[in-house]
Symmetry: C2
Subunit: 262 residues, 2 copies
């Protein structure tokens, strides 16, 4: 039995194909999200990777900000909060806190026995989100993907005192004008993101195991800065980028089983 | 008796020279603020305009974000909140609410009998401040000074739904890509600023007479949008840009009189 989970975020479209609700057969990630060709391309790619067609999928479930654009393709839609809780519990069964930093938002989920029991979300302010890092990478003329490795070379603490993206950008420009080492600035930027996210996380409470998901979890500098801010080890993996889509594929399998029974 | 008030803001330096604590003799405004040559240039200019020297000033009082950089030049420093209350009460004796939108902050002051009784301030978030308008003017490739006149030509409502400067900038870019009329976009931007500032103002309460000060008060589009949001007439004048410096010069005169008596 094959099920498909599709997560349409603001900045990326992700798909995960599962066999029998437990084995990841194929996955895809296209770096454009809702309102673009990203969703269709991600679906085409995940099917092609597996050499399968839409008709062979027993159940297709869509989640994420842009999930409603897939009516007619997906059998069902679900909130990304539930799917993130589901995906993280599959990858890390002992998870109690999920910190998801997406392209335009931050969510912190409290989890008990694989179910979400509380959450807090920021999607109104760019500070602490992937967008903050995009803005800074552009000013620093480096790629977002390079930020983690560059921060690892930092040897001196540089404080970025503003949390606001706009004011922090000015601070970065001033630091560049003073010839401050880029690696030190980037480390400061990561701590700014971490401080902002930690503030949000403390509102729901942080309990081990702490799992970080979303695209920004691939940035080792943010993960490290957040570990320092929270005083907890943070668990992540390359798969956590697909966490929402994975959760959707798991729910798809559950719904398929339920429909068979009914 | 001549006194001098100096207001060193984040983006502009302003001076006002008063005769006998009641008549404005000279004023100056340099569009760069704290940490630049702006303060010195503003002082030189206000003295030159009046054909006078520093020694002829009975008392010099500094206010604003960068007031501490003038030690040795000013006789005294005072908080800009007090100076704004003082200046606004001089210009509009019946004032009860002052809304000051500066280059990087927004302050709303409650005033009773010329004294500040309560206030609320945002200096952490660029939304609703002059910086928000700077960012938008740059994206729209117009001058900040032109925004008011351009908004007056708007014929259609365009909603900018994000208050965050970063997300609103993306909305503006999308609108431009859809060939939306710039004047309509600018009107939408002014309403975004007004909504944000109104939210702040409601936290201290808004009572007539409402006076708007600071550089952004020169933008008739923001004033109009804020009048609509608040449901109150807003009083302003070209002099309100100098409101903090005016208050400082008034306090300087009071302090001079007090010192004479002691
Ligand atoms: S603090 Fe900065 S990034 Fe956050 S909402 Fe305000 S303008 Fe946007």
């Amino acid at each position: 039995i094959y099920t498909l989970g599709i997560d349409i975020g603001s900045t990326a479209s992700k798909c995960v194909m599962l066999r029998d609700g437990k084995e990841i057969v194929s996955k895809s990630l296209i770096s454009v999200g809702a309102g673009t060709s990203g969703p269709q391309r991600a679906i085409a790619e995940v099917l092609e990777n597996a050499g399968m067609t839409r008709d062979q999928m027993a159940y297709v479930l869509a989640t994420g900000y842009g999930r409603n654009s897939l009516e007619g393709i997906a059998d069902h839609q679900m909130s990304e909060l539930s799917c993130h809780a589901k995906g993280a519990s599959f990858l890390f069964p002992d998870v109690h806190t999920v910190i998801d930093i997406g392209g335009q938002d931050v969510k912190v989920l409290q989890i008990e026995n694989g179910m979400m029991t509380n959450f807090v979300m920021n999607d109104k302010c760019a500070a602490g989100t992937g967008r903050f890092l995009d803005v800074m990478a552009r000013v620093l003329e480096v790629k977002v993907e390079e930020l983690g490795d560059l921060a690892a070379k930092s040897t001196k603490d540089v404080a970025i005192s503003s949390t606001c993206t706009v004011f922090a950008e000015s601070e970065v420009i001033s630091q560049l004008a003073m010839d401050t080492d880029k690696c030190d600035i980037i480390n400061g930027i990561h701590h700014s993101v971490a401080a902002r996210v930690a503030g949000l996380a403390h509102r729901v409470g942080v309990r081990e195991l702490v799992v970080m998901t979303g695209g920004v979890a691939q940035n080792s500098g943010v993960v490290k800065a957040l570990e320092e801010e929270l005083g907890h080890t943070i668990h992540t993996s390359p798969l956590t980028q697909y966490n929402g889509a994975l959760g959707a594929a798991l729910f798809a399998y559950q719904r398929y089983l339920k429909e068979q029974k009914d």
